[in-house]
């Protein structure tokens, strides 16, 4: 029976495990630039990544943006998931389908859509100009962290709503009913039943969005301008533009340490609550 899972495990091994090990290995060797390596052990890639003040600023910006995206997604998504799960009946499946449809709406097209909205000759600027509010185009939206945040939230919100809705759906009807029979107000049944039971969903959605946004280099590159440099764009540049794979790999693994910490913390917190 192990045979059946064999091909999948081979793919995981060959296309995930080996590449990641290779990255780890590269992060400890000397880069001669332009893709050339010298295979002698060094910690220089890590020490230069950790000591560079520019990297530190960018790391703070990256993780702050990721945390902000995840928080805004949860705050915006929670009431919508609540409404879909508890207030809709016949329309519930349609609403969930729409959320799934938007999840699968091309991520790149959505970024491009924001690009056309925020741009110099974009929807907002031309509209403001037409109404006579401004004379020359304002450019504070495109190429700013706000554009990046709005686009990120737009991309990850459907996913948030789905996770939250599915954790709300698993709340047994009886629990809410009993609460009401015992005289709980709508507010109480929310704070005493719904909120605690959906906390694991909130926590895992936060972790997942946090990790995926901090690893995204397309959104900041497209919408963030100069302020848009993140750890992911630095890694991309190291790999593609400078051919400094060891440097890029070291930053990647430092990021990975953050991600693993986040995931382990999530798993730990849920185990605690579950038993």
């Amino acid at each position: 029976m192990l045979l059946l899972a064999g091909p999948a495990l081979l793919v995981i091994g060959g296309a995930l495990l080996i590449p990641l090990l290779l990255l780890l290995l590269q992060s400890f060797v000397v880069s001669l630039g332009y893709g050339q390596l010298r295979y002698s052990f060094t910690l220089a890639n890590y020490s230069s990544a950790l000591s560079d003040p520019v990297y530190r600023t960018i790391a703070v910006r990256t993780f702050a943006m990721a945390a902000a995206t995840a928080s805004v997604c949860l705050i915006l998504g929670y009431p919508a998931a609540f409404f879909i799960t508890f207030r809709l009946k016949r329309a519930r499946n349609l609403a969930l389908f729409l959320v799934v449809a938007s999840l699968f709406t091309s991520y790149l097209v959505r970024l491009y859509a924001w690009y056309t909205i925020f741009g110099q000759k974009g929807v907002i600027n031309t509209a403001l100009k037409a109404v006579g509010l401004i004379d020359s185009p304002v450019s504070f939206l495109l190429f700013s962290k706000w554009a990046v945040l709005i686009a990120f939230v737009n991309v990850f919100l459907p996913f948030t709503i789905l996770i939250l809705a599915s954790s709300m759906q698993s709340i047994p009807d009886d629990l809410l009913e009993n609460g009401r029979d015992l005289g709980a107000s709508a507010f109480q049944s929310f704070t005493k039943v719904v909120l605690p039971l959906t906390t694991p969903g909130l926590v895992s959605a936060f972790a997942y969005i946090f990790v995926l946004t901090s690893g995204d280099y397309i959104t900041p590159a497209l919408l963030g301008g100069k302020q848009g440099t993140t750890l992911a764009t630095i890694i991309t540049d190291q790999f593609v533009a400078f051919g400094n794979q060891p440097g890029g790999a070291a930053i990647s693994f430092l990021m990975m340490v953050v991600f693993v910490t986040v995931y382990v913390a999530v798993a730990q917190s849920q185990r605690y609550k579950g038993r």
Partner: protein
């Protein structure tokens, strides 16, 4: 039974959320039919000239063909190995099952960037020429978890008694699979395949690192957006959207499977 309460505030709020999700994209679709290149309302007229431009352009045509090739290859490979793995999972003990599940879900928990740079390093060190084939490798590892989730969820809810009955009635294990198991899980496999197609169809994070000289459609769009304002991007974006949405509408009936 849940009591229905009036919650106009929440209704309005949810409508706003949906508008936020869909309005920008709908705007791109609208502008793709605009007669002029400007991004202003009201329209000066409708036209399909941007679509004609797209279909006349060899760049776009070859990018569409490349994306189709990669997506079809990815669906075929992931469909086979994912189905086998999903069947395997149902036969294992609880512990082995959970272990296999978590291993197979790892690629979905990592940002595409890491899959991309990892594969790029592997291809550089093994002197593999980057091509659409290497892109497909990236797409296989990226989409496998999603296919596996959809397929294994269906299989785990599958009543093993049905297979046992078939075997008691004298069917061999291959006949049992073909006549009993496969027809029941087929919808989930199709749904999984559609999900894989649409994920591959607009993947850009991993493709960026694993692609050779041949552009895929999303990469072409990405490079065009960065260059200049070009209204044909509206049209090609709409085609990209249509490509993945047609598939998702096909999955509509399996929406329950997707959520779990």
């Amino acid at each position: 039974m849940r009591r229905r309460r009036r919650s106009w505030g929440l209704l309005l709020y949810t409508a706003f959320v949906f508008a936020f999700l869909f309005a920008p994209v709908l705007m791109v679709v609208l502008f793709s039919f605009n007669r002029t290149a400007s991004l202003t309302f009201p329209f000066s007229g409708w036209s399909t000239r941007w679509y004609e431009e797209v279909f006349a352009s060899p760049d776009y045509r070859s990018a569409i063909a490349a994306s189709l090739k990669v997506a079809v290859a990815t669906v075929a490979i992931v469909g086979v190995i994912g189905t086998l793995a999903a069947i395997a999972v149902t036969r294992y003990s609880f512990r082995a099952r959970e272990a296999l599940r978590s291993v197979l879900l790892v690629p979905a928990a990592l940002p595409g960037l890491f899959l991309g740079i990892g594969l790029l390093s592997l291809f550089i060190r093994t002197h593999t020429d980057l091509s659409l084939g290497t892109v497909a490798v990236g797409h296989v590892i990226y989409t496998l978890p999603y296919f596996f989730l959809v397929a294994s969820n269906r299989l785990l809810r599958f009543d093993p008694l049905l297979e046992e009955t078939a075997r008691d009635l004298g069917a061999g294990s291959f006949t049992t699979f073909r006549k009993v198991t496969l027809p029941i899980i087929a919808p989930a496999l199709i749904a999984g395949g559609l999900v894989v197609f649409s994920l591959s169809w607009d993947e850009v994070l991993i493709t960026f690192f694993t692609v050779g000289s041949q552009n895929t459609l999303p990469l072409l769009i990405y490079s065009r957006v960065r260059q200049a304002v070009d209204p044909s991007i509206n049209a090609i974006s709409t085609l990209l959207l249509a490509g993945s949405l047609v598939f998702i509408v096909g999955v509509r009936r399996f929406v329950v499977d997707l959520q779990q």
